[in-house]
Structure formats: C-alpha cells, structure tokens
C-alpha cells in the first residue's frame, strides 16, 4: 500500500491535476487517491497552498479601469442572457402553438379521411342496392307484362279468411313473384312468414311486413317442377322452421 502511494506521489500526476492538465480518467484516478489516502490529500492540500503563495509572488498591479470593464461585460452578459431567455420563452410558446395546431389539423384531417371512406362506402352500397332493386324492378316488369305469365289467386284458409294474395309465375323467364295484398291483423307478438318448398327443399322466404309489403312484389324461388309456397303464423321475429299447424295459405305454382 505504502509503495503504491509512494509511486503515485512520485508520478507527477498530482501536479498535473493541480494545474488542470489531466485527462478525465487521470483526474478520476487522482480524485480517488485523494479521497482514499490522507497522505495524498495532505500532499494535494500543500501543493494548493504552495501554488497560491508562489502565484501571489508574481502578482502584478492590475491596470485602472479593468475591473469596471469586467463588471460591465458581466452585466451585459446577464442582460443578453435575460434577453435570450425572453426570446427562448417566446420561441417555445410559438413552437407549442404550432405543435398544438399541427396536431389539431392532423387530427381533423384524420377524422375527415375516415368520414370520407364512410361516405364512399355508403355510396357504393347505395349503388349496389339500386342495381339490385333496378334488376328486381325490371324482372317484375317482365313478369307482369309477359303474356306467358300465369296468375294464381291465393286465399287464406279458415285461420285467415281475409288473406288475399296473387302469385305470378313465368316459366319462360323462370321468374315468380307474389303480391300479398291483404293480411288479417295479428297480435303484436306474432307475424306472417313465407316459405317455399322447391324440389323437396325448404326455403325460408322471410317475414311479410303487413303494411310495407302490400304494394310490393316479393320474389319466389322458381322451379320447373312442382313448387309449393306457404304462409304461416309464427312468433314475432320469425322462425327457423315453419309451424305446420299454423299454415294459413298454400300456393301451388
């Protein structure tokens, strides 16, 4: 240990540190030695004292007015710094406002883009809907105006005596429609549902809306062979399979 301290003190490192000429690593090493070994600390303190005394011996009278010049420069420095801070504060406010508005506009842009996609999708859906409806209307027109179209009158059984419907079937165009013109009132928790049996397969044609569907022609699946359509009374919301006991009308076409 003694050896280590001795070689450290002999190495000039402490003197270099005193004058601020050490590298960062060297400085850290010296500071460690100073902190750890009282002998090194003592040597460093002595060097500091000696430096001060030796430097004082070389003191020179400072020229008149130099102190004022230095103090003035420091005052300017402070004023400049204050001015700089003021500018810095102003600049950061501007930057924050800019950042805020940028974010706002970006957000708005993002929202508008989303809305735009939504509107575009709606337009596309509408177009498709219109195409489908137009096609439907065209078919209805064909069926109704075609001389080959057969017309079947459908009447309800005793469960729904007032039920009146007309079915149109065109074997040439292979299209069939039904118009349910009158349906007896049902309790609120029940509804009419239409079914078809085509080639032995049961098809759910959906719920008949009592008022809206009066004016409309509803498409029926077409079959070359014998096809049967039913209208049943089902619980509100419709059923997965027809309740056979509740058949109110049969359509053979």
């Amino acid at each position: 240990m003694k050896e280590k301290i001795h070689s450290f003190l002999a190495s000039d490192l402490l003197e270099k540190y005193l004058l601020g000429e050490t590298s960062t690593e060297e400085a850290l090493r010296v500071e460690r030695y100073i902190a750890m070994y009282p002998e090194v600390r003592k040597a460093y303190d002595e060097l500091q004292e000696n430096l001060e005394v030796f430097a004082k011996m070389h003191a020179r009278k400072t020229p008149e007015g130099l102190k004022e010049r230095i103090l003035n420069r420091i005052r300017n420095e402070r004023a400049g710094r204050r001015k700089f801070y003021r500018w810095a504060v102003a600049a950061s406010i501007v930057a924050m406002v800019f950042a805020g508005s940028s974010y706002f506009f970006w957000n708005q842009n993002q929202e508008l883009q989303q809305k735009n996609t939504l509107v575009n999708n709606k337009i596309k859906n509408l177009e498709e809907d219109m195409k489908v409806q137009l096609e439907d209307l065209r078919n209805q027109y064909i069926v109704l105006n075609n001389p080959n179209t057969k017309k079947y009158n459908v009447n309800g059984n005793r469960k729904a005596k007032d039920l009146k419907a007309v079915a149109y079937v065109n074997p040439v165009k292979k299209l069939s429609y039904i118009n349910v013109s009158n349906l007896p009132q049902l309790p609120e928790d029940q509804c009419y549902q239409m079914w078809a049996e085509v080639n032995g397969e049961l098809v759910n044609l959906g719920i008949i809306k009592q008022f809206e569907d009066k004016e409309n022609l509803l498409a029926l699946p077409y079959s070359d062979q014998n096809a049967v359509g039913y209208i049943t009374i089902e619980p509100e919301g419709g059923n997965d399979a027809p309740s056979v006991e509740n058949i109110v009308a049969n359509i053979n076409y």
Partner: protein, 188 residues
C-alpha cells in the same frame, strides 16, 4: 486567503450575485493578472486574458466544487488555461502587432522586473533562482519533473530535491505573514 471569505465568495457565486466578481477581483485580481502575464508576457494580452477568465469564472460558477479544489486553485486553472489558449491563437495570427517570441514564453527564470512591482516581488527574491526555476516549471509551465529535468538539463534527482527545498522555502515565507493576515481579517 481566509476560508471564511472564500466561502462567502463561493456562496455569492452560487447565488449569481455580481458582488462575487467584485470580491474576487479585489482579492485575487492582481495575482491572476500576474499569472496571465507570466504566460503571455504582454500587458494588453494579459488584460484580455484576465477579462475572459472572469467571464468564464462567472459563467461556469456552477462547475466549481469546493470539495475538489480550493477556490484559488480553480481560479488559477481557468486563468492559466485561458492564457495558454490566448497565446496559441495570438501566435497563429500573422498580425505583427501582437507577435510574441515563443521562446520567451518557455524561457524559464525570473520574470522581468519592473520598478513598480519590486515590492510585490520582494518575497520572490528570498527564494534562490535555482529553486524558483524549478517551481516555475512546475506551477506555470506545467512541466512534469522529468520534462523539467530534460528541459533544464538537470538530473531528475536534483530537480526533485530542489523542488522539495523550494516548496519548503515557500512555506517559510507563507507561514509568517499569513498568520498576521488571518488575525487582521478576523479583527476587521
């Protein structure tokens, strides 16, 4: 320098009170001017150095750590480094006006004596030139002992012993008046 004053100045510096600079100048100005002059060997340049050093001291006051160095050591480092930088840039300038003979800077020995500084340098003469040269090399030129030995063409062992004696002589001069100064500063 009493440690009480040192503490007071350090506190003022931390508070960024201009009075710190005024006190520093009054207490260390002449010494630091001497340090600057010792390096640059020119009145105008030394004044520039002192001015820049005080600006640096003011700006870097946060960097001072009293546990690592005495206040004077820190001031000395800043002034000496500023002076060395100044000298380098002055030497690279082709400006004839401030051209300085480089050899002058590294010329070891007693500084030029002017009558007006005789009183301050009186103490210096108490130390024999051969010790002064070694102290000079150590404190002002920043030479290592080996470098001083090479530069001065004196064996390393002699450098070491002269340094030892030089430092001891220094302490003798230092110890006597400091006591008086301390007492004086305590009374005032």
């Amino acid at each position: 320098m009493s440690t009480l004053l040192e503490k007071h100045i350090v506190e003022l510096l931390a508070e960024r009170n201009e009075k710190a600079i005024s006190l520093l100048y009054d207490n260390y100005g002449d010494t630091l001017y001497g340090v600057a002059h010792k390096v640059v060997r020119d009145d105008a340049l030394a004044q520039d150095v002192l001015q820049e050093s005080f600006i640096k001291i003011w700006k870097n006051a946060d960097a001072y750590d009293s546990s690592k160095a005495k206040l004077f050591t820190w001031l000395f480092r800043i002034t000496r480094n500023t002076a060395i930088d100044k000298l380098r840039s002055a030497n690279t300038k082709s400006d004839k006006e401030i051209q300085i003979d480089v050899s002058d800077v590294y010329n070891l020995g007693v500084s030029t004596t002017r009558p007006e500084f005789l009183d301050i340098q009186e103490n210096l003469e108490k130390i024999e030139p051969k010790y002064q040269i070694v102290l000079d090399a150590l404190f002002f030129q920043g030479m290592t002992q080996q470098e001083a030995s090479d530069e001065l063409d004196i064996p390393l062992g002699t450098i070491k012993s002269r340094l030892k004696i030089g430092l001891r002589e220094l302490r003798k001069i230092y110890d006597a008046p400091t006591l008086v100064l301390l007492i004086l500063s305590m009374i005032s």
